[in-house]
């Protein structure tokens, strides 16, 4: 038995009723005990483990609507549509939704939408240890929303999901989000992730995105500082013909963050971009796994991840690209560049290509290195002191991912935020030295 038994406190917390359709919830509930949690002997969980969660004794969130919690970070966004979740509890619909956008609490959604929210592609499988967490989410989900964007609508206002966790101590939540873009629609979804308390919390969230023909979803995740956060976050995206999914995953904090993406590039002409930046420090473990499936011919993907690890932090990236048998004329590129700043830091990077078609252009590369001494020397030779020169190089390394983010205000804010963080890091190291 590779997996770890479901802790008793977790079994005891299984609710009678969830927002999943009754049949789906029943099936999930009957499986969670036998699925347990992924354990360290699962290949997919070699580098990250859920011990902190097993030992955590988290309580299901009972938070109420109307919690008086604001994020401490104000993102510079133009008139965003805010969907706030405090400890996983949805705080209600904003008053001024753009026309062409419909947002419904999952509990109030029609049966078909609830079925869709709980039927991602690929369907959760008992053989995949990662899916145990999705099944658990299904069995536990009490909250969630359905976001619908009408066909041909171009939504300028970003839709922001604020995950504010930690208003109550030792809370866990299992929210579920469904995003559906109609044909030729365009929208931007931003996850603003912040931990408000300093006691450990656990969020096990699932986002299911369905992108119709010729539609484009931009999905940005910003995991901000907060050492108390344990999170297992799963995103599914299903792309129809000529659809685009642009993903930017920035993780700057959390005790243990495991983020997973399943991108199903299922219609010809579809394209996905995946850019990632992770910067663990202290004892943080920041882990992203991506799986891109090219299931149709003439599809493309482009993936670029960067990790910068300091102190005893750990950065993990695993990227799998699967090209199915009849998916010809595919272009798929992946790179993972990693910067290691301290002797105690660790990086695990693993590309995985599985190609069954023969007319394919596919490449991947991974690098792990330290700061370039010659570049440091060059900057110092221009009068820049060593510590500042180091930070310039680190910020420059991060900047190449930040520069890809399409929202200019957010890009500038993030550039500054990362610089500020590096300045703090000098002070932290000096304190510890």
């Amino acid at each position: 038995m590779k997996r770890v038994e479901l802790p008793e406190w977790l079994s005891a917390a299984l609710p009678e009723q969830t927002v999943a359709p009754a049949e789906v919830a029943r099936a999930a509930r009957s499986q969670v005990e036998s699925l347990g949690l992924p354990g360290p002997r699962d290949e997919e969980w070699r580098w990250t483990n859920l011990r902190a969660i097993q030992r955590g004794r988290f309580n299901a969130s009972t938070g109420a609507v109307g919690a008086d919690i604001e994020p401490s970070t104000r993102l510079p966004l133009e008139n965003p549509v805010r969907l706030r979740f405090v400890d996983g509890v949805f705080q209600g619909l904003p008053d001024d939704l753009p026309t062409d956008v419909t947002i419904t609490a999952l509990a109030d959604a029609d049966e078909a939408s609830r079925v869709a929210a709980f039927s991602p592609k690929p369907a959760p499988s008992v053989d995949n240890p990662n899916d145990a967490l999705v099944t658990l989410n299904t069995a536990m989900a009490r909250e969630g929303v359905v976001i619908d964007v009408a066909a041909s609508a171009v939504i300028e206002r970003p839709i922001v999901i604020e995950w504010l966790d930690g208003a109550t101590e030792s809370v866990m939540s299992h929210p579920r989000i469904l995003v559906r873009l109609g044909q030729s629609a365009a929208a931007t979804l931003i996850e603003h992730i912040e931990t408000v308390g300093d006691q450990p919390i656990w969020r096990n969230s699932v986002i299911v995105a369905s992108i119709a023909a010729n539609a484009a979803l931009t999905h940005i995740a910003l995991g901000l500082d907060g050492d108390a956060r344990l999170a297992t976050e799963r995103s599914f995206a299903e792309l129809d013909r000529d659809a685009r999914y642009y993903n930017y995953n920035v993780q700057l904090g959390g005790q243990m963050i495991r983020r997973e993406y399943d991108i199903h590039v299922g219609g010809s002409g579809a394209h996905t971009d995946l850019f990632g930046l992770m910067m663990p420090r202290g004892k943080q473990v920041l882990d992203t796994h991506t799986r891109i499936t090219h299931a149709a011919a003439d599809t493309t993907s482009n993936e670029h991840y960067r990790t910068i690890v300091d102190d005893s932090g750990r950065g993990i990236f695993k990227g799998r690209i699967l090209i199915e048998k009849d998916a010809q004329r595919i272009e798929a590129y992946q790179s993972s560049n990693n910067l290691i700043l301290s002797d105690d830091a660790e990086i695990d990077a693993k590309p995985e290509l599985e190609i069954y078609a023969d007319d394919v252009k596919c490449s991947h590369g991974a690098t792990i290195g330290r700061l370039d001494d010659e570049a440091l020397y060059y900057l110092q030779s221009r009068g820049v002191p060593e510590a500042a020169a180091r930070n310039l190089l680190i910020a420059g390394f991060a900047q190449e991912v930040i520069d890809e983010i399409p929202l200019v205000e957010l890009r500038d804010w993030l550039t500054e935020h990362v610089e500020q963080r590096l300045v703090e890091q000098i002070a932290r190291s000096e304190r510890n030295a």
Binding site: S381, R382, G383, V384, L393, G396
Partner: protein, 251 residues
């Protein structure tokens, strides 16, 4: 007044002796050309002056503007006014040129007890210099040397020098690999920097640069020592006769 005084300088890298007793004095207002065949120690001399950690000075002294240069960190040398133009400037993608220029200028101003430069004056000054180097403004927002051609990299080195106005400019093979148009721009800029207060050292492999920038002194470096010094005619002889005759004559 001697800006730079090198006495009996010996240096090695990874235990291998490269410099074997260099003596050189550069006064304010002078241009010195240091020439020598491959492997004679030209780049080692530049790196020792720049403060590269890989080189160890085993003997001798260097005095720069009254300070013991060997006691100074690389960045201290730079803000004190010694600037090295690299033979192979490193590419630093992600760090924008404009950013480096501002950091470098402010580091120097801070060392002089001046406030940070205001953005408006800075941009004005930088734009003028960029135009004078026949470069495009867009270069300022590209990564430092990232994806630059060889000629663009060398122009960038000169641009930094024009902005930072060093007391000693040490140019390591700045002319190598330049086509004639770029060479003319680079040498015009070096001539512009030539003044009473400043010393310039041109380390070069080719005599051609000296047709455009006329040196006061020419030194031949060979096996880690200056084996012959003279005026600009020495460079012309070198061009006409090659190293062999001159080296034989010197020994």
């Amino acid at each position: 007044m001697a800006l730079l005084e090198i006495k009996n300088l010996h240096a090695e890298i990874d235990g291998k002796k490269i410099l074997n007793g260099i003596d050189l004095t550069v006064n304010a207002g002078e241009i010195h050309a240091i020439m020598g065949p491959n492997g004679s120690g030209k780049s080692t001399l530049c790196n020792v002056l720049g403060g590269h950690e890989g080189y160890e000075v085993t003997q001798g002294s260097i005095t720069f503007d009254g300070h013991d240069l060997l006691e100074m960190e690389t960045e201290e040398r730079a803000v004190a006014g010694l600037l090295l133009g690299f033979q192979h400037p490193v590419e630093i993608p992600g760090v924008k040129n404009i950013y480096l220029l501002k950091e470098a200028l402010n580091a120097k101003r801070e060392a002089q007890g001046l406030d940070e430069i205001d953005t408006f004056s800075f941009m004005k000054q930088v734009r003028e210099l960029v135009a004078s180097m026949d470069m495009d403004d867009s270069f300022l927002h590209r990564g430092v040397n990232a994806g630059f051609s060889g000629g663009e990299k060398k122009r960038n080195e000169i641009l930094q020098m024009l902005l930072l106005e060093p007391k000693i400019a040490l140019l390591d093979e700045t002319d190598s690999g330049l086509d004639i148009d770029a060479l003319k721009i680079v040498s015009a800029s070096i001539n512009r920097m030539r003044d009473e207060e400043r010393g310039i050292i041109l380390v070069t492999h080719y005599q051609r640069l000296l047709n455009y920038v006329e040196p006061d002194f020419v030194h031949i470096l060979y096996e880690g020592r200056i084996v012959k010094s003279g005026d600009k005619t020495l460079a012309q002889r070198l061009e006409a006769e090659g190293y062999q005759d001159i080296l034989e004559e010197a020994s």
